[in-house]
């Protein structure tokens, strides 16, 4: 047995203890100058939960829009754009400006809130 295989087996044994803890690749989106905790409070204040189920935000169990569970893993935003801050932040500010037919209203009034909310959403794995 080669050294690297036995090393892997050892690591495997260690991994046994943490089955289901973490996947190998966690999406690493960092929102510059975004404060996730403030974002979480903004989500509660703006009642995003009336339409979206948002983990970590109390009473956010709406089912009008898609659930935001696993948001950081979502490949696309609103089914149209890559799920990246440069699309997400303007989307949060003014969804109809980007998708005229969308049912999602513009509720986030300033850039900093959008940035904070984005920062929180990208913590949802």
């Amino acid at each position: 047995m080669s050294k690297s295989i036995s090393l892997r087996l050892t690591l495997g044994l260690l991994a046994l203890g943490m089955v289901g803890c973490k996947e190998a690749r966690t999406p690493g989106v960092v929102v510059v100058n975004g404060d996730p905790e403030r974002g979480r409070r903004e989500i509660a204040r703006l009642q995003c939960g009336a339409c979206h189920a948002v983990p970590g935000v109390r009473a956010a169990r709406g089912s009008v829009g898609p659930p935001l569970e696993g948001f950081a893993r979502r490949v696309y935003l609103a089914g149209k754009w890559p799920n990246q801050p440069r699309y997400l932040e303007p989307w949060l500010r003014d969804p109809p400006a980007m998708a005229p037919l969308t049912a999602m209203p513009a509720l986030v009034s300033d850039e900093q809130s959008a940035r904070d909310i984005a920062a929180y959403l990208y913590t949802l794995e």
Partner: protein, 270 residues
């Protein structure tokens, strides 16, 4: 005592198996060969699985020229890419598949028509061979078998001649899926909805390309633009870009009756 021993054995097996799995020592690379014994065991599994299932459907007469011509058309359109033909190599990508797509002159020489029909119709798990019953009419499936029956006796010239004389023949695709015998979840799988969406009662990857469709019946909007009614959902499934031009969800060529069946299925709470 015996029970304790058996229990310990099972537990040890589970630990060894899980360790192997999590260590990454079991390679999923298509560059690695199977062990010879693994290959033999899988071959035997295929042989007996198909043998047990294939007896139900007796072959129709396969010698009719029209049938062979249709089979040639289907073969040209759908099979030669992976399986090659006398004097014709498979496409480059197919040469690197693991397991390698079977040479069908050999298959046809080694197996009865019912066997060939069953494998073509039902596909083979984890090999890349799809179940063609969802893509081709039953007539076409038997036509493919009729064509395969000829393969072992064709040389390069006679294969070329046969293909040249059948250029006008066309392969008949299936227009409706056998919905009456199977549920609409088969449709969701055959349109590969679960390659982008997580769906209850469809086993698939934990994927987040499109939104998860869990508890879909409770959702108010489709794609954020359409109220979530059965009719709207069916419309959306048939042609997403027609409703939301920038959507990344493609038009999958779903006919109305399939779209309707999937919409009903998704909207049924479970």
């Amino acid at each position: 005592m015996l029970l304790v021993g058996a229990g310990a054995l099972v537990a040890t097996g589970a630990i060894v198996g899980t360790t192997l799995l999590l260590s990454g020592a079991l390679s999923t690379n298509a560059t690695k060969q199977h062990f010879r014994v693994t290959h033999r065991v899988l071959d035997l599994g295929l042989e007996y699985s198909v043998r047990a299932a294939a007896d139900d459907v007796p072959a129709p007469a396969l010698g009719l020229p029209g049938m062979r011509a249709r089979g040639a058309a289907c073969y040209r359109e759908h099979c030669v890419t992976c399986h090659g033909a006398p004097g014709v190599a498979p496409d480059s990508f197919a040469l690197g598949m693991l397991p390698v797509p079977g040479n069908l002159a050999h298959s046809a020489a080694a197996h009865p028509p019912e066997w060939l029909y069953h494998v073509t119709r039902k596909g083979v798990r984890m090999t890349g061979m799809p179940a063609w019953e969802y893509r081709l009419s039953d007539q076409s499936l038997w036509s493919v078998v009729a064509f395969l029956e000829m393969l072992p006796v064709l040389d390069v010239d006679s294969y070329r001649a046969l293909m040249a004389t059948t250029v006008d023949a066309s392969c008949e695709s299936r227009v409706t899926l056998p919905l009456h015998t199977e549920g609409a979840d088969v449709l969701l799988r055959q349109y590969a909805c679960h390659s982008c969406h997580q769906i209850e009662s469809v086993v698939g990857p934990r994927v987040y390309t499109g939104p998860p469709l869990i508890d879909w019946s409770k959702r108010a909007y489709i794609a954020g633009v359409l109220p979530n009614t059965e009719e709207n959902l069916a419309r959306w499934i048939m042609d997403p870009p027609a409703i939301s031009p920038q959507t990344l969800m493609p038009d999958l060529g779903v006919p109305p009756e399939h779209a309707r069946a999937m919409a009903v299925f998704l909207l049924t709470p479970r």
